[in-house]
Symmetry: C2
Subunit: 153 residues, 2 copies
C-alpha cells in the first residue's frame, strides 16, 4: 500500500509540494542529482504518489470571502445513505471538502461561497430537503488563517 520513499524522494516531494513549477534542473541541483536521474524519480513519483499538480488561487481576489463549515448528522448509520450523500456532495462545486467522521456527527463539510445567500440556496437545495438528514450545524469563518496542502515528509 504505502510506497517506500528514500531520503531523496522525500526531499523531491517536499519541494514539489511547495512549488511544482521549479525546473527539473533546479530541483536536481537541490537534491544533488543529475537532471535525468531527478526526472526519472519525479516521473515515478507522479505515477505513484502525486495525485495532481494544480494552481492555488487566492479566494479573496476572486470574491470567495466566506468559508462555511457544516456538521451533518444523518437519521441512520447506514452505508447506502452515507454513499448517496457523499456522491451528492461530490457534484457541488461550492463544497470543497467532505469528511466522513466518527461520533455524533456523520459528515463535516467545508464550503467556499461569495455570500450568505449562496449558502442559503445550498442548504435549501441539498440539506433541508434531504429526508435522510437529521440535523446540521453551521459555522461561519471569514478568516482562513492557514491553508496548507503540503504533507511534510
Amino acid at each position: 500500500m504505502s510506497f517506500d520513499l528514500d531520503r531523496t524522494d522525500r526531499r523531491i516531494l517536499n519541494l514539489l509540494q511547495q512549488d511544482s513549477r521549479i525546473s527539473n534542473q533546479a530541483l536536481a541541483e537541490k537534491v544533488g542529482l543529475s537532471p535525468p536521474a531527478c526526472l526519472r524519480r519525479v516521473r515515478r513519483l507522479r505515477e505513484e504518489v502525486i495525485m495532481a499538480e494544480v494552481a492555488l488561487i487566492n479566494p479573496r481576489l476572486v470574491g470567495r470571502y466566506i468559508n462555511v463549515i457544516v456538521e451533518v448528522e444523518m437519521v441512520r448509520d447506514q452505508l447506502d445513505i452515507y454513499d448517496a450523500f457523499k456522491r451528492k456532495m461530490d457534484t457541488i462545486p461550492e463544497v470543497t471538502q467532505c469528511y466522513q467522521v466518527t461520533g455524533e456527527v456523520d459528515f463535516m463539510l467545508i464550503l467556499m461561497v461569495e455570500d450568505m445567500e449562496s449558502y442559503e440556496r445550498f442548504t435549501r437545495q441539498y440539506l433541508s430537503t434531504d429526508a435522510n438528514l437529521s440535523k446540521f450545524r453551521t459555522l461561519i469563518s471569514l478568516r482562513r488563517d492557514k491553508f496548507s496542502t503540503a504533507i511534510p515528509l
Copy 2:
C-alpha cells in the same frame, strides 16, 4: 481589491486549477489564443491571483491516514489571544488548516496525522497546556471523501 477577469482569464484559471502542468501550447489552444498571448495572461495571473502552484500527494500512500477536526474555544474573545493562537498553529506542520469562526466555537482546525498517538502528543503540547484555551472537541475522520483546491470561476 478584486481583479477583473474576462472570460478567457477565467477559463485559463479553471484549467490551471485542474492541471498546472499543462503546456502553454495546449493551454493556448484550449482557450483559443496564440502561445505568446496566452503566456502573457498566465504571467499576469501568476502575479495577481495565483498564490502558488503545487503538487498534491495522496496522503494514504505516505502514511497520513487520519484526519482530525478540532473545534477550539478560547476563554475570552480577545484579539491578542486569537492572534497568539493563530501564530502557534501556523508553525505546526500537522495542522494543515485553521479557520477562525464566529459563534460559540472560536477556531476550527484540520490536522493530518499518522496515528492517534501523534494527535495525543499534539493536544498535550499545544491544547491542554494553553491557559487561554477553555475547551476543545475532537472529530476523527478516516475518509476524506472530497478535497478540491479549485474555486470554480
